[in-house]
């Protein structure tokens, strides 16, 4: 009897202690030292991460009691690592949440509302892409970056072979075939492998949006629309051209571009800085660019929101940090490091960047021309599952010569099944 009473009292005490930690209000501002952890994979990007970090670190000059600590994971493991941490009640205080990861976080109630962070002037300075992170009228993130895509080529190589920069898809294929015939090496590369699934998806939307296609109309999936079929037919044609770097993942083809071994890429603009800055073989001024030469010239943007983790013990301090970060002065400084992506406010991109990196102009124009997001409108949460289905069917087209229409019809059928549940 005595033993049972003791067990009951102990269990009750433990339960009360556990429950005391739940639903706690954010801790009040501490006058003691605070460390805010800030996670993004950009810290690992040479030539960008270090520039951005210098800006972020400067927060301690005006807020000496706060230390900002970098948290970095590789791009491939980023969402998975953060998911596991946040799911277990931990994770960084501030996190860059790339699309569609933001939607998963928000749906799980893992983010803090940022309603009270910016004043009216601050809210007015936000770009339209910030609307993506407003849920039920409340912002749960502000844009950390808006990254563009493009077609990049070594101007000198094309000139050496008497090729003018392609402006249509047909010209692109012809140029690639000619270069391969004359050099014996693949001439063009873009992501196409399943072990880079999420990045491949982000890249691949350039084809779909480029021909005026889309994956939904907001209410229904439209994976097998005529425009999408056209886009995938183009992709298959390039893949089979003999000039495509079949089997090269992005790390491989980017290195090849850097070494001058492959002259054309369809890739995220962000990599061009690290590939060409200080590169004597392929310097920035030798790189030409355009949006992918497709009929509608539509393009995508990779969005990423900067949010506060609901598990954070320093929500008040984190909000103060965001207030500072989204001020015009800091956004202007950050624009240098974030380049060639745009920041989350309407500040002007420093002019010297257009001169130093001439390939940026078309990418900038693309980012200003209402690019579409990489999440499926109306099905943001289901984007990862639909993505796997869609790209698996594209793989079948590429590697097993399955008819494009048949493959996209199958993708549509499977995806509709998934979104029903």
């Amino acid at each position: 009897m005595r033993k049972r009473k003791f067990a009951l009292v102990t269990a009750t005490a433990l339960a009360i202690t556990a429950l005391a930690g739940c639903g706690a209000e954010p801790a009040p501002t501490s006058s003691g030292p605070v460390t805010l952890t800030f996670a993004t994979y950009h810290w690992l990007e040479k030539g960008r991460g270090d520039v951005m970090w210098k800006v972020i670190e400067s927060y301690t000059k005006t807020h000496p009691n706060v230390t900002i600590e970098q948290v970095s994971y590789s791009r491939a493991d980023y969402e998975k690592t953060l998911s596991t941490q946040i799911g277990s009640g931990k994770g960084p205080d501030l996190l860059h949440a790339p699309d569609p990861f933001f939607f998963e976080l928000e749906d799980a109630g893992a983010l803090v509302s940022l309603e009270d962070v910016l004043d009216d002037a601050g809210k007015a300075s936000l770009t339209s892409e910030n609307e993506l992170y407003v849920v039920d009228g409340k912002p749960y993130a502000f844009v950390w970056e808006t990254a563009g895509y493009g077609f990049f080529y070594d101007k000198r190589v094309l000139a050496d072979h008497g090729i003018t920069a392609p402006t249509t898809f047909e010209e692109l294929v012809a140029a690639a075939k000619q270069l391969t015939a004359e050099t014996g090496k693949p001439a063009i590369a873009t992501r196409h492998l399943m072990n880079e699934e999420s990045a491949w998806w982000n890249d691949h939307l350039a084809w779909i949006y480029g021909v005026g296609g889309d994956l939904s109309d907001g209410s229904n999936l439209t994976l097998n629309s005529p425009a999408n079929i056209q886009a995938e037919t183009y992709f298959k044609e390039l893949y089979d051209s003999g000039a495509f770097a079949v089997g090269d993942d992005s790390a491989t083809f980017r290195e090849k571009f850097k070494q001058g071994a492959i002259p054309m890429l369809i890739d995220a603009a962000g990599t061009q800085v690290s590939l060409t800055k200080g590169n004597e073989i392929v310097p920035p001024e030798s790189v030409g660019s355009s949006l992918i030469p497709f009929p509608s010239k539509g393009t995508q943007f990779i969005g990423g929101g900067l949010a506060i983790n609901g598990n954070s013990a320093h929500v008040v301090e984190a909000k103060e940090f965001l207030r500072w970060m989204y001020s015009p002065e800091i956004q202007t400084q950050l624009a240098e490091g974030m380049f060639p992506s745009l920041v989350g406010t309407n500040i002007e991109v420093p002019k010297h960047l257009f001169t130093e990196f001439p390939w940026f102009q078309p990418i900038y124009e693309g980012l200003k021309s209402n690019p579409k997001p990489v999440v499926i409108r109306g099905f943001e949460l289901k984007t990862p599952q639909v993505r796997t289905i869609f790209l698996t069917q594209i793989e079948r087209v590429l590697t097993q010569d399955v008819d494009v229409t048949e493959a996209l019809n199958e993708a549509q059928r499977q995806a509709e099944e998934v979104v029903r549940h």
Binding site: K80, E104, L193, L398
Partner: protein
């Protein structure tokens, strides 16, 4: 009185000792295997998501019902079985042949042994990355060799017809040294007198192998084959790093499927259901093995 108490105490100590020794191992198994297993089983009946593990709703057998009609899942079972059978067969063959080869004395045997064990010592991640380069369509050593031989290029990691073969080759290269070491140890424990007796009886090398060597090492071969089978069911890193389950799901095994569902799609409950089915398959194989072993033993005892 003191003498009787002391003897009683000794008897208790003797009785308790085996339980104490087994007990610590049992507690370890319960805490680190049993409890997580039960958690996984419970999870498989919920719609839990990775980001909010405590908010899963009970959905009964919904996950299992969906799996049994999911073409991708059924395909992953077939892929897993095919991968396992071919990997185990090739590994057992290569490992056993290697063991027999280096069981004989020859100049440089020590060096040969070290080299043959080398793949086992290399981290699996490094193996996967090296093979990615070997298999590269344009610049890989494999296609360069085939081109030189006039055979032409193969899409090792980009053609679904070759994806599984490529993964199997990398796996066999990596794990056959383990089989070699185990079989070698078993070969070296065969009493030399048996070989001498067989020689005296006029047995040729083949007869000596079938009547002396094979029966002696057969239990070891069976145990290693069972371990290889279970490990092949669970193998993740080589497959994920080489192909990510592609191309076109050609290498999408049960474990890869679990990972995709849990970490790409954040569907923890659904992934747990896949894992449970994979576990069930492993248990069926293991139980079948022990039943067959027990029957064989009984037959031999009667004989």
């Amino acid at each position: 009185m003191t003498y009787q108490t002391s003897t009683k105490g000794k008897r208790w100590a003797v009785r308790l000792t085996p339980y104490l020794l087994i007990g610590s191992a049992t507690i370890y198994l319960l805490v680190f295997i049993g409890v997580p297993l039960l958690q996984g089983a419970r999870l498989s009946f919920t719609d839990t998501r990775l980001l909010n593990p405590s908010a899963g709703r009970w959905v009964g057998v919904d996950n299992y019902a969906r799996l049994l009609t999911d073409g991708q899942f059924l395909g992953s079972i077939a892929t897993t079985l095919l991968y396992t059978v071919l990997t185990v067969a090739a590994t057992m063959f290569l490992g056993s042949v290697s063991a027999f080869t280096i069981n004989h004395t020859f100049p440089g045997r020590a060096v040969a042994r070290s080299l043959m064990v080398f793949p086992w010592a290399v981290p699996t991640v490094a193996v996967a990355l090296v093979f990615r380069w070997i298999y590269n369509d344009n610049s890989g050593v494999a296609n360069s060799a085939l081109k030189t031989l006039g055979i032409g290029q193969v899409g090792w990691l980009t053609n679904p017809d070759f994806g599984l073969l490529s993964v199997i080759i990398a796996t066999v290269w990596k794990i056959s040294p383990f089989v070699m070491l185990v079989v070698l140890a078993s070969l070296q424990s065969v009493p030399l007198e048996l070989y001498e007796a067989a020689k005296v009886d006029g047995a040729n090398p083949w007869k000596s192998f079938t009547t002396v060597t094979l029966p002696y090492i057969l239990p070891t071969l069976k145990t290693v084959a069972l371990l290889m089978t279970i490990w092949s069911f669970r193998r993740f890193e080589i497959i994920w790093l080489l192909t990510g389950g592609g191309p076109a799901d050609a290498t999408n095994t049960i474990v890869i499927n679990v990972y995709r569902q849990a970490f790409n799609n954040s569907r923890l409950g659904f992934a747990a259901a896949i894992g449970m089915i994979g576990l069930l398959m492993s248990v069926v194989i293991t139980v079948t093995y022990f039943i067959v072993e027990a029957r064989t033993e009984r037959k031999e005892t009667r004989a």
